[in-house]
């Protein structure tokens, strides 16, 4: 999970084919609940072994069912299972691209490019990890539980949703040995004040070594505050419209504060995972 140099070292040719572009076979494509679909693809071992939590694939959504998506669509790795040879995505149907994905069935082919971007850091001395996830953010954060277990770290997952019945991946997190805290809008527990209380308790009782989150502006602000207050590092996965997915087109930039200066970084290349203190609320 070491950061790659960007741009690569001058004067040295890069090893080609560091990134895979290939057609994978669809194993299944089923609803997880009313809003999300899980897509499972058969993938070769050498590809799965390169996957890291937080990375993404750039999917060439098919021209199918009247949909004609053109650009590729980025999707976080939801699960990678070298044991079963499967690569999973979790997606929400939004527009032409995801509607096209929805039409895929077992046996169909899907062209994927990846794994791309930089995944989540888990430093050697980070023992207790806390992730806060909501909605499709779970897709991005779920595989972190897998990596935490593989490295013997303790993980607490705070899962937020509108209703208890759209809470996803809770069983998945429990299977990975994580402690799960669920908060919902329905019972008012998902408010920032409540979540702040939950985290403060965690910090106090067990100590927290790193925060992880994804996508939500309010959560970013909360975790930045808590991180500064307790000196806890953190990481956030961010999104931006993409074209190339490889770092060539510079369309996917977002602003970050580095050493007091505002810089534009590419989500596909310097991200999609960034230092939580450098990220800027939007």
């Amino acid at each position: 999970m070491g950061k790659v140099l960007s741009p690569p070292l001058a004067g040295t040719r890069l090893p080609a084919a560091d990134v895979f572009e290939r057609d994978l076979v669809v194993v299944s494509n089923d609803p997880v609940n009313g809003e999300y679909m899980r897509l499972a693809l058969k993938a070769p071992l050498e590809l799965l072994e390169r996957c890291r939590a937080g990375q993404f694939f750039h999917l060439l959504c098919p021209v199918i069912g009247g949909e004609t998506p053109y650009l590729r669509r980025p999707m976080s790795i939801y699960g990678f299972f070298p044991e079963t040879g499967e690569l999973h995505f979790l997606y929400k149907v939004a527009g032409a691209g995801t509607r096209a994905l929805f039409h895929l069935g077992p046996g169909d082919m899907l062209n994927v490019l990846g794994p791309l971007g930089l995944g989540f850091r888990i430093e050697d001395d980070w023992q207790h990890l806390v992730l806060v996830a909501r909605g499709v953010g779970l897709a991005t954060l779920a595989p972190l539980a897998l990596e935490a277990r593989n490295r013997g770290r303790r993980l607490t997952a705070i899962c937020s949703a509108r209703h208890a019945d759209v809470l996803m991946s809770i069983d998945y997190f429990r299977d990975m040995g994580a402690d799960v805290v669920t908060v919902t809008d329905a019972d008012g527990t998902s408010s920032m004040e409540h979540v702040e209380g939950v985290i403060e308790t965690l910090v106090e009782k067990r100590g927290v070594d790193a925060f992880y989150t994804c996508g939500s502006n309010r959560m970013l602000l909360l975790l930045q505050k808590l991180g500064r207050r307790h000196g806890i590092p953190g990481e956030i996965a961010l999104e931006q419209q993409m074209a190339c997915g490889l770092g060539m087109c510079h369309c996917c930039v977002r602003p970050f504060m580095q050493d007091g200066k505002r810089v534009q970084l590419r989500v596909c290349r310097e991200g999609p995972v960034f230092d939580i203190q450098e990220a800027m609320p939007w």
């Binding site: 960007s6 741009p7 690569p8 070292l9 001058a10 004067g11 040295t12 040719r13 890069l14 090893p15 080609a16 084919a17 560091d18 990134v19 572009e21 060439l60 004609t68 998506p69 053109y70 650009l71 590729r72 032409a96 490019l113 931006q240 419209q241 993409m242 074209a243 190339c244 997915g245 490889l246 770092g247 060539m248 087109c249 510079h250 369309c251 996917c252 930039v253 977002r254 534009q264 290349r269």
Partner: protein, 314 residues
């Protein structure tokens, strides 16, 4: 064995397929061995640091795309210290694309990038000329001529002028570039366009408008390439919507000596590799011994110049 090499104003390319500026960078070397390309063309650089346009910078339109990246640039220093040395590991010729807001800026940058390791300079005259009314240099023959003749004095490297489709005077602009000293023409850049999200009523691009690229642009760029080949005696490099070997042939037949592939690489990062292989395969099957035999072979029955150079929709 098909001879795939072409000659662009004295610069020999091993094949006629190269990337379009702004759709290629060092990162693509992670996907395939970029030595196989006819040339390496950098993203346009400016002298100074520039941060580019607001996001979203891209959107999709019916089988093509719009972009308003702007020209984020790390400046000429970065190019000389990092970019040029990176590409020096390859034998493939390096073409640096440059841009400036004024003729002075253009001229200075042109001289600065005229260094060892750079094989040609692509002049992005599709950028706004802030000394006049902000229209791109290449919208008018006069501003095209002026900037090209300034650049001609600033370098001994081959100069490729990259034209814009946002003009009603393609043949005149092409001739002005030639007269100003261009050694080749790249035809063309993106076409100004717009898209609105009807739910939010906001433009889909942060910058309001952007450039159309991809398949929708192909018939327009092809027409321009044909007109430029007829209007000048310098080599034409076709660019716009090329994604297959058949598209390349269309441009070569129209009179282009080489082509650039842009947006197609976003859809399929190995597009250029497949195109080169397919092109060679097809020429070989058709018994063509050199790709150069194809250039300009369109059967146009000696159309009168009123038709060739027309700028009216018929």
């Amino acid at each position: 064995m098909v001879d795939m090499s072409v000659d662009i104003a004295g610069l020999k390319l091993k094949n006629p397929v190269m990337p379009a500026s702004g759709t290629f960078s060092e990162e693509l070397a992670e996907v395939f061995d970029i030595e196989c390309l006819g040339a390496h063309v950098t993203k346009t650089i400016t002298r100074d640091l520039r941060s580019g346009n607001p996001t979203p910078r891209v959107c999709e339109v019916d089988g093509s795309m719009l972009n308003s990246i702007g020209i984020p640039s790390k400046g000429v220093r970065y190019f000389l210290e990092k970019t040029a040395p990176f590409y020096s590991a390859y034998n493939t010729p390096l073409v640096v694309s440059i841009s400036g807001n004024t003729a002075d800026e253009f001229e200075a940058l042109c001289a600065e990038v005229s260094v060892d390791g750079v094989a040609a300079i692509e002049v992005n005259v599709s950028c706004p000329n802030i000394e006049e009314d902000g229209k791109a240099f290449a919208i008018r023959p006069s501003s095209t001529y002026e900037v090209m003749s300034r650049l001609r004095k600033a370098t001994r490297l081959p100069l490729w002028a990259k034209l814009t489709p946002n003009t009603g005077e393609t043949p005149e602009v092409a001739r002005a570039a030639e007269e100003g000293g261009a050694d080749a023409l790249v035809v063309a850049n993106t076409l100004l366009a717009m898209a609105i999200d009807t739910r939010t009523r906001r433009p889909k691009l942060g910058n309001l408008m952007g450039g159309l690229s991809g398949p929708s642009l192909k018939p327009i760029a092809l027409r321009m390439a044909y007109q430029c080949a007829k209007a000048t005696r310098i080599p034409i490099i076709g660019c716009g919507g090329i994604s297959t070997a058949d598209d390349v042939l269309e441009f070569l037949i129209a009179g282009a000596s080489a082509v650039q592939v842009g947006t197609a690489t976003f859809i399929n990062p190995t597009a250029m590799v497949s195109i080169i292989a397919e092109l060679e395969g097809r020429l070989s099957r058709e018994g063509v011994s050199s790709v150069r035999e194809i250039i300009g072979t369109v059967i146009d029955d000696e159309q009168k110049s009123g038709v060739v150079f027309m700028e009216a929709a018929p």
